[in-house]
């Protein structure tokens, strides 16, 4: 099943067409890659799907077993409800909150209380909080961050912050996650670990991963399918091998094997 479908999306900034009549589909349960040169429009695609931008044209269809939702009809804070969550290209954590609280914010839509129940600790409050906390600790354990639970998010090194952002996304109980350059700033061996982690997440949490990445090692290693874009338009879609072999992609994005 195609869990996510982008149909003829166009997004302009003034005269600049950042995304240009772009269409592609993401298979449920896959790891799907979106690549392209700097400024090709990848982050803009993510921002449009999660409703931070209003594309001028197109549809974004999210499919569940028995339903089809056009995300463009909703506001950005409603998207998480449908099981779609994202990370940001420039890590966006809640810096002055603890690592654990960052995780709990991820559970926001799943904790059903209101401020009167919370303020007066009316019945039912404690259970919901505790469930969320347990789950957060589980995920932190899975990511190897358990020890840091009570520390400030902002004082964590970059690598931890990236993992935490990933953990926070998992807290929303997503069916599909959008990751914008998860490997940026990591060295090769760290990237290797990330590859393993992403596959594990896909399997254990039973979700679809849709990622933007410039690290070709990672992309080629783990992606089931890739779409390459340039100037907001699709150049080609295919398996990693097909993409690597494509002369257009070579020319626009990868560059030849010429020496320095």
């Amino acid at each position: 099943m195609k869990i996510l479908e982008i149909k003829n999306m166009t997004k302009r900034f003034g005269g600049l067409v950042a995304v240009d009549d772009l269409s592609f589909q993401v298979e449920k349960g896959s790891i799907f890659g979106l690549i392209g040169p700097n400024g090709a429009g990848k982050t803009t695609v993510f921002n449009s799907i999660t409703r931070f931008y209003d594309p001028e044209e197109g549809e974004v269809i999210l499919r569940t077993q028995d339903d089809e939702i056009n995300l463009l009809n909703y506001k950005s804070h409603q998207i998480a409800n449908f099981g779609l969550a994202r990370t940001f290209q420039n890590v966006e954590l809640f810096g002055n909150m603890s690592v654990l609280d960052n995780m709990l914010v991820g559970a926001h839509t799943n904790i059903k209380t209101n401020f009167l129940i919370e303020g007066f600790r009316l019945p039912g409050f404690r259970n919901k909080e505790n469930e969320a906390k347990e789950k957060a600790m589980d995920i932190l354990g899975f990511l190897g961050l358990k020890k840091l639970a009570n520390q400030f998010a902002k004082s964590q090194p970059y690598g931890v912050q990236k993992l935490l952002e990933l953990g926070r996304v998992l807290m929303t109980e997503p069916r599909i996650i959008l990751l914008d350059e998860p490997a940026a700033g990591m060295n090769d061996s760290e990237t290797d670990k990330l590859s393993e982690l992403l596959m594990k997440i896909r399997d254990e949490y039973n979700l679809t991963i849709f990622l933007v990445e410039h690290d070709m090692g990672l992309v080629m290693d783990i992606c089931d399918e890739i779409v390459a874009i340039n100037f907001g338009k699709s150049i080609m879609q295919g398996t990693p091998q097909e993409i690597q072999a494509s002369p257009e992609v070579q020319e626009a994005y990868l560059g030849g094997d010429d020496e320095l």
Binding site: T50, H77, I79, E92, H108, F115, Q151, S155
Partner: protein, 341 residues
């Protein structure tokens, strides 16, 4: 040691203990007259300004929204209390709750403004709104009694009249205690986290399903409620409400309270209220220089700047971070929490 474990494990413990100790002192004072009457009045003022500061801190410290018009809400609460108790004779409890709820509605309106405006623009626009409301107080003589001011008497609960200031101090402290508990619960649950998330990153908060509209409105509504409630206590405590009390200066004082005491902290709110109520009075009493014109203003200003210079995270937060926490961790052999400088 055991006490300290208790402190650390039961989060309410320090508030309960603090309240009980404070109330006992006031009780003793009631018997033997420990404090001067002026001290009691100042303490009452610290108590209701603590509620103001907690409300303002929910808005500024937790939700990251600024308002320089909240003095008007406090005035509104105070006038409502005078108006209700003079015209309808409702009891203490319904009166203070109404005096919080009605400003809360106006708080929501301010929240709608805040949806469009940000930072400095929001600050100055709310400052303007506050001044506007202050002028309305002057003109609506039927409601406020104009420049003659509104007068009222101390409250009565179940036939007991709180005419003695010490009795009233106990009552006010108890209300503060309830406010602290409510706030504490709130900020450590979904709502509180959503507010802080909104403060730290708009975008990530939305991506996690937090509606900025809803939580901005909650932040403004709650803070207006608290401030209105405190205004009600003001009215009962001072028994007189005058229109020139509710201007920009008081709003700026509220801002100073939470920043000087410590943002996003209940203890900081109370500390800040204490600072802004007590420091100007203390410097007035300094023996040698007390006679110099305006020395109270000059020294208060200096004290504010010195706090920012040496404790930029606020007095309470600074102590918590530099003294109390290291102390706990040493005594209880916890891992050092780290954190950055």
């Amino acid at each position: 040691m055991a006490i300290m474990k208790l402190f650390n494990n039961n989060p309410y413990f320090k508030y309960i203990l603090g309240t009980i100790i404070f109330m006992i002192i006031v009780f003793i004072d009631l018997q033997i007259g420990l404090f001067a009457s002026r001290t009691v009045n100042l303490l009452i003022r610290v108590v209701y300004f603590s509620i103001v500061a907690i409300g303002f801190n929910i808005l500024l410290g937790y939700a990251g929204q600024i308002s320089l018009g909240h003095a008007a809400f406090m005035g509104f609460g105070a006038y409502l209390t005078a108006f209700i108790s003079n015209n309808f004779g409702l009891g203490f409890l319904p009166t203070i709750i109404l005096s919080g709820l009605i400003p809360m509605i106006f708080g929501i309106v301010l929240g709608l403004v805040a949806l469009r405006l940000e930072r400095l623009y929001l600050a100055i626009a709310t400052l303007g709104i506050g001044v506007t409301i202050e002028f309305v107080f002057r003109e609506w003589v039927w409601f406020t009694n104009g420049f003659s001011g509104a007068r009222l008497s101390r409250p009565e609960i179940f036939g007991f009249a709180f005419n003695n200031s010490r009795h009233f101090l106990l009552l006010a402290t108890f209300i503060l205690f309830l406010v602290v508990l409510f706030t504490y619960n709130l900020i450590r649950s979904k709502t509180g986290r959503a507010l802080s998330a909104m403060r730290d990153s708009n975008h990530a908060a939305q991506a996690m399903g937090i509606s900025l509209l809803k939580y901005k409105l909650i932040a403004f509504a709650l803070s207006a409620f608290y401030v209105g409630l405190a205004g009600s206590l003001y009215a009962y405590a001072e028994r007189y409400v005058h229109p020139s009390t509710w201007g920009a200066e008081l709003s700026l004082d509220m801002l100073a309270m939470v920043v000087i005491g410590g943002l996003a902290s209940i203890g900081g709110s109370i500390t800040g209220a204490g600072f802004l109520v007590l420091v100007p009075r203390l410097v007035q009493d300094l023996p040698v220089i007390g006679g110099i014109t305006n020395i109270n203003f000059i020294l208060t200003g200096l004290a504010m700047i010195l706090v920012i210079r040496f404790m930029p995270i606020g007095i309470y937060n600074w102590f918590d971070y530099k003294v109390i926490q290291p102390f706990y961790y040493k005594m209880l052999n916890f891992d050092d929490p780290g954190g950055d400088d």
